[in-house]
């Protein structure tokens, strides 16, 4: 990857580009590993019923794929499904890290306007991801 000029904007663009690439690579690797385990163990089983969904029935919200402690516990126990969810979490985290790194970039350039804008975006995402 070549970035001939080194204006502030291209520096941030290079940062963004690297973040996206590395994040997507890790997410895909984790997801493929989890998917392989899942297929080897359960590939021959009949398809689970995906035609129904319920917000209230706890059977639709197994901890091993919906909560962070549940997913981590599942990964340590070698569950393929939890490993897939971990890959999904890395995928979700990639754009968030991109926003965070851009924020640091703008702060370093003393571009207060865009530091504030980026911080606002980050605040909205975090606010919604960690409900009080």
């Amino acid at each position: 990857m070549k970035h001939s000029s080194s204006t502030p904007d291209t520096a941030i663009q290079a940062l963004v580009c690297h973040t996206l690439r590395i994040g997507v690579g890790i997410a895909l690797a984790v997801c493929l590993a989890g998917g392989s385990v899942y297929l080897v163990r359960h590939g021959g089983e009949a398809l689970p019923d995906y035609t129904q969904f319920s917000y209230t029935d706890p059977a639709f919200h197994p901890a091993e794929s919906t909560t962070l402690p549940g997913i981590c516990g599942g990964v340590l126990a070698g569950s393929g499904r939890s490993l897939i969810q971990l890959g999904v979490l890395v995928l979700i985290l990639t754009p968030v890290v991109r926003v965070l790194l851009s924020l640091l970039g703008y702060l370093r350039q003393r571009d207060w306007l865009y530091a504030a804008i980026t911080a606002a975006v980050l605040a909205v995402i975090l606010f919604n991801s960690f409900p009080a």
């Binding site: 580009c17 021959g44 009949a46 499904r81 995928l91 804008i117």
Partner: protein
């Protein structure tokens, strides 16, 4: 078709569909479909989620809530996968993207909370409306625009930019109607929170029509924003259980591979015909889905 051949095809079809579907077959079919979705999504600029939803709901009879969760995963995968290529080429207006992301993320949070109150039929109806508009916009003739004077607000926010031309030079452009574009992108974020797709239609209205952004810049910038927008509601969707591993795995792997292929092909492919063919297909799916939503078949 000769009678014998038809009989054979019928028997073969019956045999295939009489077998109970295993997790392995489901995964392989979905993997292939997701690859096609990622490819088409990045070539047409609509994102992978638009194709994933009908494949799951109409093709496999999957509940709409799961399909929306899968579309969300597909949106983030397309955005990040194709985004790294676009940003590198310097077409994406990163500052414009950051600024509009305030609107899209707030919209996505609101949309994700509205989504809890919607049943399958309502989600399907909203989705079919978005598809109808999408098809209409694809057929619209795009006028070649001259550079416009930037509005004072766009200048104060330093949103105006420049983008590389085929001959290697940089062409500057100014942006108009920042407030209008900001408002419509808020609505686009809300649709993303409800449907999981990056709504390309509203992007066209907000960035192309209102803000007068050059088409290539608006397409890549909107793709860039899609990932962050989807993230704003994705964690809530994981907690609700609608992003389920058995579906997320083939969708994520397939869409990512498709989006990477698409981003590479886009540079040397004339996609005008593909866009027209795709628009007809989108129209068909939209009508089918609207009929099923209104007839209460979901």
């Amino acid at each position: 078709m000769p009678k014998v051949l038809r009989k054979f095809a019928l028997k073969l079809g019956n045999f295939i569909f009489s077998q109970p579907m295993t997790i392995l077959t489901f995964t392989l079919i979905l993997l292939a479909a997701a690859y096609a979705a990622g490819l088409l999504g990045s070539l047409t600029g609509l994102g992978g989620g638009v194709v994933v939803i009908p494949v799951l709901t109409l093709g496999f009879g999957v509940d709409f809530h799961y399909a929306v969760g899968a579309a969300l995963v597909a949106s983030i995968a397309t955005s990040s996968g194709a985004g790294s290529a676009y940003v590198k080429e310097g077409i994406t207006n990163v500052r414009l993207g950051m600024f509009l992301e305030i609107a899209t993320t707030v919209g996505a949070v609101v949309g994700a909370w509205i989504a809890v109150w919607l049943n399958n039929a309502v989600i399907a109806f909203i989705y079919s409306l978005v598809l109808l508009l999408t098809a209409a916009v694809q057929f619209r003739r795009r006028a070649v625009r001259r550079a416009v004077e930037p509005s004072p607000l766009a200048t104060r926010l330093r949103l105006n930019g420049s983008w590389p031309q085929p001959d290697g030079s940089l062409q500057a452009y100014g942006l108009r109607n920042v407030a209008g574009g900001f408002g419509v992108m808020g609505a686009a974020g809300m649709l993303s929170g409800i449907l999981g797709i990056g709504s390309g239609v509203l992007k066209v209205i907000a960035m192309d029509d209102l803000m007068k952004c050059p088409f290539k810049v608006s397409t890549t910038t909107s793709n860039f924003m899609m990932g962050v927008t989807a993230c704003a509601s994705a964690v809530v969707y994981v907690q609700r259980g609608v992003i389920t591993p058995g579906i997320a795995f083939p969708v994520m792997a397939g869409v990512l591979a498709g989006a990477l292929t698409g981003a590479r092909l886009l540079k040397r492919l004339d996609v005008r015909l593909l866009r027209k063919v795709f628009a007809v297909a989108v129209l068909g799916v939209a009508l089918n889905m609207m009929y099923m939503a209104l007839a209460g078949k979901f």
